[in-house]
C-alpha cells in the first residue's frame, strides 16, 4: 500500500524545503505521497515547478493564511 510522508518545512526558507523534499522523495516508492508543509511563498512556487518537471503529480492546498501543503505523488 502506498504510504504518506509528512515533511514539516514551516519556518524554513529557500532552498531548504526543495532540498528536503528532494531527499525525502528519493527514499520513497512509486505512488507514495509526500506532503510538504511550508509557509515560504517562494517554495510554494519553485517546489511544485521542480516536482512537475520531474514528472510527479502535484497539488497545492492553501491551508491557512500564508501556509500551504504541497502534495506530491511520486510517479517514477
Amino acid at each position: 500500500m502506498a504510504k504518506e510522508v509528512i515533511l514539516d518545512c514551516l519556518g524554513e526558507a529557500c532552498p531548504v524545503p526543495l532540498v528536503k523534499a528532494e531527499n525525502a522523495l528519493k527514499e520513497m516508492d512509486i505512488e507514495d505521497v509526500l506532503v510538504v508543509q511550508c509557509d515560504h511563498s517562494c517554495a510554494m512556487k519553485n517546489l511544485p515547478e521542480w516536482a512537475r518537471k520531474e514528472g510527479h503529480f502535484v497539488d497545492i492546498e492553501e491551508v491557512d493564511d500564508g501556509e500551504w501543503e504541497i502534495i506530491i505523488e511520486k510517479a517514477k
Partner: protein, 181 residues
C-alpha cells in the same frame, strides 16, 4: 462582508493580488521601475548602499561620527549624510519596498509571523546577513546595485559580478546543506 467576498472571487483581484506573478512579468515590471527611478533620482537603483547610510545616521544619532571613515569620506557621501534621512531618495525607496511587501502579503491574505525553528537558524541568519552586508560594501554594490543596475547600464562590471556571484551561490548552498540543515 458580502463586498469582500465578491472582491476575493474577482478575476482581476486574483490575478493582481493573489496569485504570484510569473518571472517574465516580474522582470518587465522591474525594468520599467528601474528606468523610472533612474530618470527621477539620477542614480541607478540600489538597495544595500542605502542601508550603510542608515547605519551611519543611527551611529550619529547616538553621538558617533563617521567623518573620518574612508567609506563616507567623499564629498558626495558627506553631502548625502548632511541632507538627512528624510531627503534621501534611496531611503524612501527602501521604506517603500518594506511597506509594499507588507501590503502585498496582506492583500493576498498571506501575512504570517513565522516561528524560529532552531538556534541554527538564528546563527545562519546573522552570519549570512553580516557576510552579505560586508561583501556588498567591499564589492561596491549588492545584487541590485552591482548586478542588476550594472548590467542594465551596459557596464562590464555587472557581468563580472554575475560570474563570481554564481560561484559564491554554489559555495553558499553547499555550506547551507552541510551545516545548517
Amino acid at each position: 462582508m458580502e463586498f469582500l467576498k465578491k472582491l476575493r472571487d474577482n478575476v482581476f483581484f486574483k490575478k493582481w493580488f493573489k496569485t504570484p506573478y510569473t518571472y517574465v512579468t516580474g522582470a518587465i515590471l522591474l525594468s520599467i521601475f528601474q528606468i523610472i527611478t533612474f530618470g527621477i533620482t539620477g542614480n541607478p537603483w540600489g538597495v544595500s548602499g542605502v542601508l550603510a547610510n542608515w547605519g551611519a545616521w543611527l551611529f550619529e544619532a547616538v553621538g558617533g561620527s563617521v567623518d573620518k571613515w574612508y567609506y563616507f569620506s567623499s564629498e558626495g557621501a558627506q553631502r548625502t549624510l548632511e541632507a538627512g534621512f528624510m531627503n534621501h531618495a534611496g531611503t524612501m525607496r527602501n521604506i517603500g519596498i518594506i511597506f509594499g511587501a507588507l501590503f502585498a502579503s496582506l492583500m493576498a491574505s498571506q501575512f504570517k509571523i513565522k516561528k524560529i525553528k532552531s538556534k541554527k537558524q538564528i546563527v545562519a541568519a546573522v552570519l549570512g546577513g553580516l557576510l552579505m552586508g560586508y561583501g556588498a560594501r567591499i564589492a561596491g554594490g549588492c545584487n541590485i546595485g552591482a548586478l542588476f543596475s550594472g548590467i542594465s547600464s551596459l557596464s562590464f562590471s555587472g557581468w563580472v559580478f554575475a560570474f563570481f556571484m554564481f560561484f559564491g551561490a554554489v559555495a553558499g548552498s553547499k555550506l547551507l546543506v552541510k551545516y545548517f540543515m
